[in-house]
Point group: C2
Chain length 163, copies 2
DNA sequence: GCATATGGTTCACACTATGAATGAACAAAC
DNA sequence: GTTTGTTCATTCATAGTGTGAACCATATGC
């Protein structure tokens, strides 16, 4: 972006007051910080390094995962995944099995202990998000959610330029 | 939290549909990821480690800072700050001076080069936030901002419990 | 069979972060 | 005016996050 971005904004041709930009910047910074602190807290609470925690959550939707797939989903290089997997295997959260069809591939799956940990984490996450939502009145909640959708769309549109 | 949190939600006594919780969880995750990717991008773009970049921005509001003050603002331990400062001094972005009043404390201030870098970064940040806002229609924008305020308040209220 | 793609691991490196120990400088108290 | 305790900063050991290059084993395509 930036090279294209600096010259002119794209959509609306009305000017945006700078106090709105400041307000927005502050809000985003604050929300981002909240999320980071939650991650920190989770890591402490579940006694798992952040990366292992995030990796564990990938198994919520998939029964089997490969290092390659994990690398893609987590957006890290494969050597990094090897390390994360090592840690989780050492903690007996997941197990490695060779793919019978293609023995280059290792299949990862949760151990019972890993499944328990995942359930714990998901329960925590749900309850924390529920708690945040329950701070708002029902109508307010709807408004917040739909405006977040708008924000998400806008941020993703801009992200495309940021390469 | 959690111990108190599990039993019952606090404010509204109406039930929150689980699809709303899911939606919310997804939105937050996505926004968080966007912010992280922006950080990454910034770090690459300005050829500065993330921590130094964040530290540099503290000088936007303050002419002089101490390691202790930075540790507090950045929410890290002071030994970590020493390292960050070392890097920034090596890059000639900031300089160390002894406080004439109390020679235990070191005063940090931007070099001209550091000031330039900071200006660059601030310009970038403003333009990116402006770009996001300009994706929305004026009325939409107002709505998003005010709903973000609500969200911020809710998240901070919950954060208090998360100790 | 042989070249080559692919999947995974190992290794060396750099950044983020903490906590314990150390040393220098100040502030009082005796 | 030395001792005692406090505060500020640094150093060091340790752990976690992440990359990229080199490597090995296993497929797959001529």
């Amino acid at each position: 972006m930036v090279h294209t971005m600096n010259e002119q904004t794209t959509q609306s041709n009305d000017t945006i007051p700078s106090y709105q930009v400041d307000q927005f910047q502050g809000l985003i910074a604050k929300l981002f910080q909240c999320c980071q602190e939650r991650m920190q807290y989770q890591s402490d609470r579940f006694k798992l390094p952040d990366a292992e925690l995030r990796c564990l959550q990938l198994f919520a939707h998939e029964r089997y995962l490969t290092p390659k797939g994990i690398a893609h989903k987590m957006n890290v290089v494969k050597s990094r995944v090897t390390k994360i997997i090592d840690g989780m295997v050492r903690r007996k959260l997941i197990q490695r099995v060779k793919d019978p069809e293609d023995s280059r591939i290792t299949l990862l799956s949760l151990t019972p202990k890993g499944q328990d940990k995942l359930n714990e984490i998901n329960y925590f996450l749900e309850s924390i998000h529920l708690e945040v939502l329950s701070q708002m009145a029902p109508e307010q909640r709807k408004a917040v959610l739909s405006n977040l959708e708008v924000l998400k769309a806008s941020m993703e549109a801009v992200k495309e330029l940021m390469v």
